[in-house]
């Protein structure tokens, strides 16, 4: 499997990744004002979503059995996961779907003795999102400290473990979606869907009807990124959801591996 090859040759990939990061950093420094405004814009966007939580809780004490503080923790967890994804792999998959395959940029990845799938994932680290990640992560630690102190060691370990499982599911599913670029001329709407849904779907899935819950545990896996880990931390876990998460990860890894295999087989470069 690709993941195991990547882990075995991690130091080699890290050297390549460092060069890509340094190149992106120089690009960012060339447009400093642009980066500053983008960063501030991103934070006001996050604040806008948080205001909705505040407004919602002016009307009710709980949403789906979770208090305002607990929903805020869920939102911060979701933001931590998303900013981490956006700063590392998301932009790579996004541009792969929007232009790399369509204009033949992907050819260059096939010429190198490295796994194309990994190169795509790390091709565009988004350093502005990395700034978001650092700030959000610090905020998460600060805000979540009272919850961590109140939780048992087992709950904290469970939180971390299921957060990592959620991260793995997200990465593998996005990577699978990226392979649509091999088969479709245009698939950018999917990226917009993933981004817009992530801003709204961090609330506990039980508040939604069954079909929507099914989507949150499958095609748009936001439930794995925030709801399940936070539920474990708060002692409100649902064992069925935990089992689903544990089973979902290897399934998604397998589907991703299979999707890339099929995609690479059908790819004949933009010039053919």
């Amino acid at each position: 499997m690709t993941q195991f090859v990547f882990i075995r040759r991690f130091s080699h990939y890290w050297r390549v990744y460092k060069q890509i990061i340094s190149f992106n950093l120089s690009l960012l420094l060339a447009y400093r004002f642009n980066v500053l405004v983008h960063s501030l814009y991103g934070f006001t966007f996050m604040l806008g979503v948080y205001l909705i939580i505040l407004v919602a809780f002016t009307q009710t004490q709980t949403i789906g059995g979770f208090s305002q503080a607990e929903i805020t923790l869920m939102y911060l967890t979701s933001l931590t996961l998303w900013t981490l994804l956006e700063s590392t792999v998301f932009e790579g998959y996004k541009f792969f779907m929007i232009e790399d395959v369509a204009i033949g940029q992907f050819d260059k990845y096939l010429l190198k003795p490295l796994i194309p799938q990994v190169l795509v994932a790390m091709s565009r680290p988004h350093l502005t999102s990395f700034v978001y990640f650092i700030v959000i992560f610090v905020g998460f630690i600060w805000y979540g400290s009272s919850f961590f102190l109140a939780a048992s060691l087992l709950q904290i370990v469970g939180f971390l473990l299921f957060f990592l499982i959620g991260l793995g599911i997200h990465i593998n599913l996005f990577s699978t979606y990226a392979t649509l670029a091999f088969h479709l001329t245009r698939s950018s709407q999917l990226i917009r869907t993933l981004q817009s849904v992530s801003d709204q779907a961090f609330y506990p899935p039980p508040i939604y009807p069954k079909p929507i819950q099914l989507i949150l545990f499958s095609f748009l896996p936001t439930a794995y990124g925030a709801y399940i880990p936070v539920s474990i931390l708060l002692g409100k876990e649902n064992s069925t959801h935990m089992i689903i998460a544990v089973i979902a990860l290897p399934i998604v890894i397998f589907i991703n591996h299979w999707a890339w295999k099929i995609g690479l087989r059908s790819y004949t470069s933009a010039s053919s």
Binding site: F33, V37, G48, L51, R192, S196, Y208, I212
Partner: protein, 196 residues
Amino acid sequence: MNLPIYLHVGRLSLADILEYRVDNIIRIGRYVLTISFALFLWMAIGNETTITEINIQELIGYYVAAMIIYGTSNYHLDYIERDIRLGYMSKYLTKPVSAFWYYFAHQATVALYDIIVKSILFLPFIAFTSIFSITTVLKLSIVSLLLAVTFATTFSLYYCFSSLAFWFQQVDSLRMTLLFFRPLLIRHDYPILLFS
């Protein structure tokens, strides 16, 4: 102004949207999901408590109506900046068309398509609420006119910012400076009563 040419541009834009069927289905799925998530959140709140400021049906009706017309002001013209940077703008210099009206016709078609698709998708929700029971033909006409004015105004404003790409490499930030407070108002589609 050569209207048939711009109408043709609109038809081409529509054909372009409809050509990529899977992408279009995903776009429609996005409309359904994003609106549904907010609706079900407020329905869940409505189930747990009584919202004093506004009836839950009115809230849903207001939100759906706001989301349907959202496309008249929520779009980016970054493709114009790309056209300027890559020199594609040159084609308008050799043809009897205005770049402004060309892009206007394209974006207006996309916005109109959005409104029509969302209206069809959320017809059951609209029927469920009482929002159109008080609506007359005159009121609908005034709303339609206001939407057209909103679109024309926002398009002109965004176009001004995009045209800065003639002088600057990256004008994203300039446009975003203008829209800086929009994220804070991102859910301006909720009735203002709730923010009191």
